[in-house]
Structure formats: structure tokens, C-alpha cells
């Protein structure tokens, strides 16, 4: 339990070590980053058992008592997302060692990567709302710089659009924190929940909820705020959208908004409705916009927008079964999307192009990348027995159970659209025969890339097994309990902190 600050200390230490040593010893930046992400993965797996036993672990920074001090809190939701982030970051780092060979100044990339990891871990661990904002900014700034990494024309344009929209979101969040502080006069989230339970919401809390929905929605890529996502994803090196879609959208957007709306404000009917509406808009809009795409990473970007809509609907419906479904879907989608982006990057590395029409016959030429793409696409489209099918089924059942058959119909429709556009895009790419426009597969995959793709494929296939009773299902159930318990978070926390 005393190693909770290591989740933030290790990536930040690795970032500055790489920055010191990376320019002189060029080959050392990759291994340092890999070692740091391995430590993080081991630490996040090690913290699962204490969390299952004690329900909530609290680490008080500097031993200041609440509400003056800044706590770092690990409960089941945090532990689950730490494991998820640890897995995705570890495999992306291994993949980067092979993928980043054509780029120069690799130490800058690894420094930014480690800062990104440190920032997102900080958001997960924060018990104090301003601490969460600072780490959110750290992670966001790192990812703006990472998207612009190649400094080609398109990377800069995508990075600029991403940076402008996302920093407008950050300013909205900061304004929300300011107004919330004026009402509750504390920045500690558990204390804020207790004060709001006493004082009642008044007129301030709906206003602040709107500000937070806009701000975190811009980070998460929900539908009216999605415009940066396809541009930023299509222009960046392939590991960046894998990290962003697998970790950042979930952590900075969905985790933060669910932590604040469920645990601090208390969910009520209006906010649920807004989440449901935004979610269904994202789901259907993302699928429809994905039809006309001709570039693979852009298609995957629109697919991300669509899947975030599913998770938002699950959060909005709010029954325990819906929350279970959406958290399980979050898990699945992170792993599958990371796999898809990494294999798209592998294909791009081999052929040199991103156009769907120019890539043919991947499963024959570069079988690992081809089969990895196939597994990822099947998981997201919802084909049994992979995990995505069970997750969608659970959310659809939960919608029908909650008395909203219209939502279930929309979800089935969006699933059909998803299946159609993945089928249309990937049959040619994976199984088609060579045509005149297709480019040959020149470079072979480096062993690091192959290892990462293989392990992630195995994990995506195994993700469906999480539903069987065991440690992981207990963890997800615990996470559902945290969210559906709502304001009990504050009461549990004050008990755990004293």
C-alpha cells in the first residue's frame, strides 16, 4: 500500500532519466521505457489483491489528514483501469522499439510517452480534483506533442486541431473547478461529496455538470465534440492513436466524468438522460461517418467515436447490469482498438501506405498483422465468442431491463453498421487478391512489433474469459459497486482515511 505513489513516480522518473541519458546513449531510451512500463504493469497487478481485500486503499501524501491533505485513492475502478493502462502501455512500448526506427530523436518520443503514462496514472489515482486537473493537463500536453511527432504537414495540422479543441476543454474544466470550489470551499473529492450531500445541489451543480460534460466530452471524443479525433489519429505515428484510444479517451474522458458525476455529484435523471443522448448520437453518428472512409487509421478513429458512445450509454442507463456491461466493454475496446491500431501501423510499416484500396492480401503476405487485425475487428464488431459480443449483449439486456427498448434498438442498429463497415474495409485488405493499385509488402515486421501484436491478440481472445467467476470478475463487480454506490464513496473514504 505504501507503493501507491510509485505509479506516478516511476514513469516521471523514467521520463527524466531518458531525457538525461537518451541523447548521449542513443540505444538506452527504449529499454528504460520498457523497464518502467514493466514495473508499472507488475505494480498494478500486485495491487489487485489488496484492493479486493480492503475495498479502498488510501495513501495520504505527506501524512496530512483530510480534508487538508491530498490523498491518492485506489478503489476497484481505479485498480481495474490501472491494470488496463499498464497492459496497453507495456505492449505499445515494446512495439515502439521496432516501429520508431525510421524516426530520429527517439528519446523525445520515449520521454513524452512516459510523461503521458505518468499523467494518466495520476488522473486515476487522484483523490483531489485539482490534482486530477494537473495530471490531466500533463497527459494532454504530452499527447499533443506526440501527435505532432513526425512534424510532417498532416501531423502538424492534426496536432493543432487536437490541441486547440482539447485545451478549450481543459479551460472549461478549470472554470468548473473554480465555480465548484466557490460552492463547497474544498477541493478534496470525498469532502466535496459530503458537503454536497449536506447542502444540496442548488443551482450551481447543474451548471458545473454542464461545464464538466463539455470539458471531459472534448477529451473523450463524444459526438458533438469529436471533430479532432479523426484528424489527430490519421496523421500521427500508429502507436499514438493506440495509446490515445486505448488509454487516454477512457481515462481522461470517461473515467473522470464518471468519477465526478457518480461519486461527487450523485447521478440524477437529467444527467443520465444527457449521457444517453450524447452516447447514442456518438454511436450512430460515428458509424455512419465511418462508411465513406478510405484510410485505415481514419476509419478506426471514427470507430472509436462510435464505441465511446456505447460506453456512455451504459453509464447513462445506470443500472448495475448496465454499468457492468459498460466497464467490461471499456476493457474490451481498449485492448481491441490498441491491437487494431498497432496492426494498422504494422501494415503501414510494411507497405508504406494507409489507403484501404492499396493494401491487399495481408493475411497471406504478413500473416501476423493480418490475423491480429481480423481478431481485433471481430471483437469490436461483436462476433461471439470474443469479448465484444458479450459486452454488447450485456448492455443491450440492461437497456431492455431498464425499460428503454428504443436504446436497445439503436445499439443493435449501430452494431450492424459497425459490422458492415469493418467487413467492407477489411475483407479487401485481409483476404483480397493483388490488384494493380496494391503496394507490395516490402519490409518485414521487427521482432518487437511481432511480439507485441501476438501478445495483444492472445489478450483480446482471453478477454472474453473475464466473465467467468474469478478474481477479474470480482474486480469488475467491485468497480460497478463503486460507481453505483454513488456518494457512499465519501463515507467509505472517510472511514478508510481515519
Amino acid at each position: 500500500m505504501a507503493f501507491i505513489p510509485f505509479f506516478i513516480a516511476i514513469p516521471l522518473g523514467a521520463a527524466f532519466l531518458i531525457s538525461l541519458a537518451g541523447k548521449r546513449f542513443r540505444a538506452s531510451s527504449g529499454p528504460i521505457a520498457c523497464a518502467a512500463s514493466l514495473f508499472l504493469l507488475a505494480a498494478s497487478l500486485a495491487i489487485v489483491k489488496p484492493v479486493l481485500a480492503h475495498k479502498t486503499l488510501v495513501y495520504r501524501v505527506g501524512n496530512w489528514l483530510p480534508p487538508f491533505g491530498i490523498p491518492m485513492i485506489v478503489d476497484s475502478l481505479t485498480a481495474l483501469m490501472l491494470v488496463l493502462a499498464g497492459i496497453v502501455v507495456f505492449f505499445v512500448t515494446i512495439y515502439s522499439i521496432g516501429y520508431m526506427k525510421p524516426y530520429t530523436d527517439k528519446w523525445k518520443y520515449y520521454t513524452l510517452l512516459m510523461l503521458l503514462v505518468g499523467g494518466s496514472n495520476g488522473v486515476l489515482l487522484a483523490g483531489d480534483i485539482f490534482n486530477m486537473f494537473v495530471f490531466l493537463e500533463i497527459a494532454s500536453i504530452s499527447v499533443y506533442a506526440l501527435v505532432a511527432y513526425g512534424t510532417e504537414k498532416h501531423s502538424l495540422e492534426g496536432a493543432f486541431k487536437y490541441a486547440v479543441m482539447s485545451s478549450i476543454g481543459s479551460v472549461f474544466i478549470f472554470l468548473g473547478i473554480a465555480i465548484l470550489y466557490s460552492y463547497t470551499s474544498t477541493l478534496n473529492m470525498a469532502d466535496m461529496a459530503a458537503v454536497l450531500m449536506q447542502k444540496g445541489p442548488g443551482m450551481i451543480v447543474p451548471f458545473v455538470t454542464t461545464l464538466f460534460l463539455v470539458g471531459f466530452g472534448l477529451k473523450a471524443g463524444l459526438m458533438p465534440f469529436h471533430a479532432w479525433l479523426p484528424d489527430a489519429y490519421s496523421a500521427a505515428p500508429a502507436t499514438v492513436p493506440a495509446l490515445s484510444s486505448g488509454v487516454l479517451i477512457k481515462v481522461l474522458g470517461l473515467y473522470a466524468i464518471s468519477r465526478i458525476v457518480f461519486n461527487v455529484f450523485g447521478i440524477n435523471a437529467e444527467v443520465s438522460n444527457i449521457l444517453v443522448i450524447l452516447g447514442s448520437l456518438s454511436m450512430v453518428g460515428g458509424s455512419i461517418l465511418a462508411f465513406g472512409q478510405t484510410k485505415m487509421k481514419r476509419l478506426l478513429g471514427y470507430s472509436s467515436i462510435s464505441q465511446v458512445g456505447y460506453i456512455a450509454i451504459g453509464l447513462g442507463v445506470g443500472t448495475p447490469l448496465a454499468l457492468f456491461g459498460s466497464i467490461f466493454y471499456l476493457l474490451n475496446h481498449s485492448l481491441s482498438k490498441a491491437l487494431l491500431f498497432l496492426s494498422a501501423g504494422a501494415i503501414e510499416h510494411s507497405t508504406g501506405t494507409d489507403e484501404l484500396g492499396s493494401i491487399r492480401g495481408t493475411c497471406r503476405r504478413s500473416p501476423l498483422a493480418g490475423w491480429a487485425s481480423l481478431v481485433g475487428a471481430l471483437s469490436i464488431s461483436g462476433i461471439p465468442p470474443l469479448g465484444g459480443f458479450w459486452a454488447k449483449l450485456i448492455i443491450i439486456f440492461a437497456c431492455i431491463q431498464a425499460g428503454r427498448p428504443m436504446l436497445a434498438f439503436l445499439m443493435v442498429l449501430a452494431s450492424i453498421f459497425t459490422l458492415i463497415y469493418y467487413f467492407k474495409a477489411f475483407t479487401g485488405v485481409l483476404f483480397g487478391s493483388e490488384s494493380e493499385k496494391s503496394r507490395p509488402f516490402e519490409k518485414a515486421l521487427s521482432p518487437h512489433m511481432a511480439l507485441a501484436l501476438f501478445c495483444l491478440t492472445a489478450l483480446v481472445v482471453a478477454a472474453g474469459l473475464v466473465l467467468l467467476p474469478g478474481k477479474w470478475q470480482a474486480l469488475i463487480n467491485g468497480a460497478v459497486g463503486v460507481l453505483s454506490g454513488g456518494r457512499d464513496y465519501a463515507i467509505i473514504l472517510f472511514g478508510a482515511m481515519r
Binding site: 500536453i141 495540422e157 485545451s167 478549470f174 490519421s234
Partner: protein, 112 residues
């Protein structure tokens, strides 16, 4: 009371500027104005009537002090917003090199 409303008006001016202007530099300035307005609001919230600066002085009689927490928070937030602005400006300089124009409607290669 008017001070708070003026802060929100300043925030809206910044938001309008960031959304509607075409020049890249003006967008960055608009985001800067929004950040300044948010910082202003936060510091204003800490004001207590009749308060003085929150520094202990053993030789003076202190009636009330303003809240020191917003000042610490804004000190951090200023530096964060500064880093974001610096990154945006660096990207804008490189954009001008590659595209040759500062007009955001012309920097539109990624379509669809």
C-alpha cells in the same frame, strides 16, 4: 457581484474569439483570454470582505484574511496554461513553415 459576471463575459469573449476567428494566432490569443478569465474568477472567489493578504504577522492585529488556496491553485494553473500556449505557438510556427498561410480555413488537407 458585477466582478464575477464580468469574468464570465470575458470568458465568453475568449470563447467567441477561439471559435470564430480564422487566423491561427487569433485562435491562440482567444484561448489565452479564456484561461485568464478562468484564473481571474478563481482568485476572485477567494476574496473575503475586509480581508488582507494571507500572510501571518505577529505584530499586527488581523481581522480577516482572504483565502490563500485559490492563489496557490492559480499559480500552478498559470504555469500549466503557459505550457499549453507555448506548445500551440510552436505548432503554429511549424504550420506556417509547411503550409505558408495562417488561415485555418485553408489548412484543411485532412478531410472527410
Amino acid at each position: 457581484m458585477t466582478a464575477y459576471i464580468l469574468c464570465l463575459v470575458l470568458f465568453s469573449i475568449g470563447l467567441y474569439c477561439a471559435l470564430r476567428k480564422r487566423n491561427v494566432v487569433k485562435i491562440i490569443i482567444g484561448i489565452g483570454i479564456m484561461e485568464y478569465a478562468a484564473n481571474f474568477l478563481f482568485v476572485l472567489i477567494g476574496y473575503r470582505s475586509g480581508g488582507r493578504s494571507p500572510i501571518y504577522a505577529n505584530d499586527q492585529v488581523i481581522k480577516s484574511m482572504v483565502d490563500p488556496l485559490p492563489q496557490a491553485v492559480v499559480a500552478v494553473a498559470i504555469v500549466l496554461n503557459l505550457s499549453v500556449t507555448l506548445l500551440l505557438v510552436a505548432i503554429a510556427i511549424k504550420l506556417y513553415e509547411k503550409y505558408g498561410t495562417f488561415d485555418i480555413t485553408k489548412i484543411n488537407d485532412l478531410k472527410g
